[in-house]
């Protein structure tokens, strides 16, 4: 399996854990693996994030992907039982979109480029 695909799965697992800690008990994860870029969407209809939590998520993904960190330390993601590794996740994937609306719940869409070196997104 491609390491990029594996890393995206780890990222999704950590976001899933974040949603669980925030109170969600029904989370859906979907993937779209492409040749150049892969996507994952994590959605929970039974919660709504506080403004601080949404800002925190945006802050986590604000910096660029850092493959030198993601490739080495990425194995730590998804391993700890009740501690989040969202800051590490922020070095592994880019935030495409966050939806956080009453009635629709929360959707976080993340992406990762094949052999990511520098973030494609300029902020």
């Amino acid at each position: 399996m491609k390491s990029d695909a594996t890393q995206l799965m780890r990222v999704a697992e950590e976001v899933l854990k974040y949603f669980y800690i925030k109170g969600s008990r029904s989370v859906k994860v979907s993937y779209d693996f492409g040749d150049d870029r892969s996507f994952c969407a994590v959605s929970a209809k039974d919660i709504l994030l506080e403004a601080d939590d949404e800002n925190y998520l945006r802050r986590v993904f604000d910096g660029p992907v850092q493959p030198e960190i993601a490739n080495y330390y990425g194995t730590l993601v998804g391993r700890r039982r009740d501690e989040l590794e969202m800051e590490l996740v922020g070095t592994m994937a880019e935030l495409e979109d966050i939806q956080n609306e009453e009635g629709l719940g929360v959707v976080v869409v993340l992406s990762r480029r094949e052999i990511e070196y520098r973030s494609a997104h300029k902020r």
Binding site: E54, D62, Q66, E68, Y72, R80, E83, E87, E101
Partner: protein, 430 residues
């Protein structure tokens, strides 16, 4: 989409990264200036000193200040830092917490074991790992640079085993490259054992590899040639310059981020376990303030325990300063350091023992344990660390420069299941 407002972060990461790279160049200038001044600008003496450093066996503990003098030792450190910064730049790696930690660690250990000649085989091995994995070298750069922990192995094969030239060099490069190659996958796997609670993870991986290599040497009756070199130096030649550098870091941090007190308060609340990139999440200003404060704190510890201001001790201080961009801060390092001091005082090892003095400084590798589980856990981990560090060195025969990283990995890996169980038990989750 949500209508919730998004407050942009105070710092632009790319700009901070450029400033951090400039700061590393400033650090390089500091090492170079100090080396030249300590050598009284005698270039021939520096060249002779570097020659002695390169051919001396680097098994722990080989204090370059003892075998060649402080001036050549600092020039060697500057050269190795120059290589590290050059490789980071060529690999287009963003300079943030991990890169700062790796550069300061190389600077520190280039005062007692790494030199401008013996770091290359390990880096070559890590490069070959990237080629074999068909991945960019930049992805493996942190492991490649930290992986120079086993540099003494190349020196030992080249100059300590009595092999004729040029075969000694060829074999030294080959052996160094093989361990540099192997350390890449093993370091990733080693993280699983302590789950990021040992900041010197490569030291743990290098200790495992060094143990296998040393077992091979013993099996074939190949003796190691290293001796014990430990300069006895007072604080006067070094401390004023270092203290000025640490104060300059604090002032620079305060200037580039006037809002640093708030960021620094958040930084101090961080557990510090891997990966805690302080530059990325708290900004360069607060990070510089933390690095300077930690430099002054660790210098105070050195003064308090009465250690000599030689290569290994200065190396320990510089390593702590580097990791103060990547997990360490005053709140999480003090408990394990106090634990190590306490155990040194009550055990037969004593506080005058060089291994104890280094263990007290490097016990800060267990900072995440006190950051996550509290000061009592950190204190206990520091006590355990001092016990382990006195004996694990014999396993790898001093081939692994990060002996404290090896002991720290074992300590964290052993403490963690117990601490997790205790926490769950207290929360009535068991």
């Amino acid at each position: 989409m949500s209508n919730l407002t998004y407050e942009p972060p105070p710092n632009d990461f790319e700009t901070e990264s450029r400033h951090a790279r400039t700061a590393l160049l400033g650090f390089l200038g500091f090492l170079l200036a100090y080396g030249l001044a300590a050598s009284r600008f005698d270039l021939s003496a520096i060249a002779r000193g570097l020659g002695v450093i390169i051919v001396s066996p680097d098994i722990l503990i080989n204090d370059y200040a003892s075998v060649a003098g402080l001036g050549p030792a600092f020039i060697n450190s500057a050269l190795c830092v120059c290589v590290a910064i050059g490789i980071l730049k060529a690999s287009r790696v963003s300079v943030s917490g991990p890169a700062i930690a790796v550069v300061f660690t190389i600077a520190g250990f280039s005062l007692f074991g790494k030199n401008i000649a013996n770091i290359w085989p390990g880096i070559l091995g890590a490069y070959l790992y990237s080629v074999a994995s068909r991945r960019p070298f930049g992805e493996n750069i942190i492991v490649a640079l930290f992986g120079t922990a086993l540099a003494p192995l190349s020196s030992e094969v080249a100059f300590g085993l009595g092999i004729q030239a040029p075969w000694n060099i060829a074999l030294a490069v080959s052996v160094g490259a093989v361990v540099g190659f192997l350390i890449s996958p093993i370091a990733r796997h080693a993280l699983d054992f302590h789950r990021g609670y040992n900041l010197y993870n490569i030291g743990f991986a290098a200790g495992l590899i060094g143990t296998v290599v040393m077992s091979g040497f013993k099996a074939f009756d190949i003796p190691l040639s290293g001796g014990f070199h430990w300069a006895v130096l007072g604080p006067l030649p070094v401390l004023p310059g270092l203290a000025a550098f640490f104060v300059a870091l604090i002032v620079t941090g305060a200037i580039i981020d006037p809002g640093w007190p708030a960021s620094y308060r958040r930084l101090l609340a961080s557990p510090g376990r891997l990966v805690s990139d302080f530059v990325r999440y708290y900004g360069l200003g607060a990070t510089f303030v933390n690095m300077g404060a930690m430099g002054l704190l660790s210098s105070a510890v050195v003064l308090a325990i009465g250690a000599s201001w030689n290569g290994p001790i200065i190396g320990g201080v510089l390593t702590i300063v580097g990791f103060s961009a990547f997990g360490k801060h005053p709140r999480n390092v003090v408990p394990p350091m106090l634990g190590a001091i306490g155990m040194a005082l009550v055990s037969k090892y004593g506080i005058d023992n060089p291994a104890s003095q280094l263990a007290i400084l490097f016990a800060s590798t267990l900072a995440p344990i006190s950051g996550e589980y509290g000061p009592v856990a950190g204190f206990a981990a520091g006590m355990t660390h001092l016990l382990l560090v006195q004996v694990v060195g014999t396993l790898h025969g001093g081939l692994n420069l990060y002996n404290n990283g090896f002991a720290g990995g074992l300590t964290a890996g052993l403490c963690l299941p117990v601490l997790e169980w205790l926490r769950e038990w207290r929360r009535h989750e068991i």
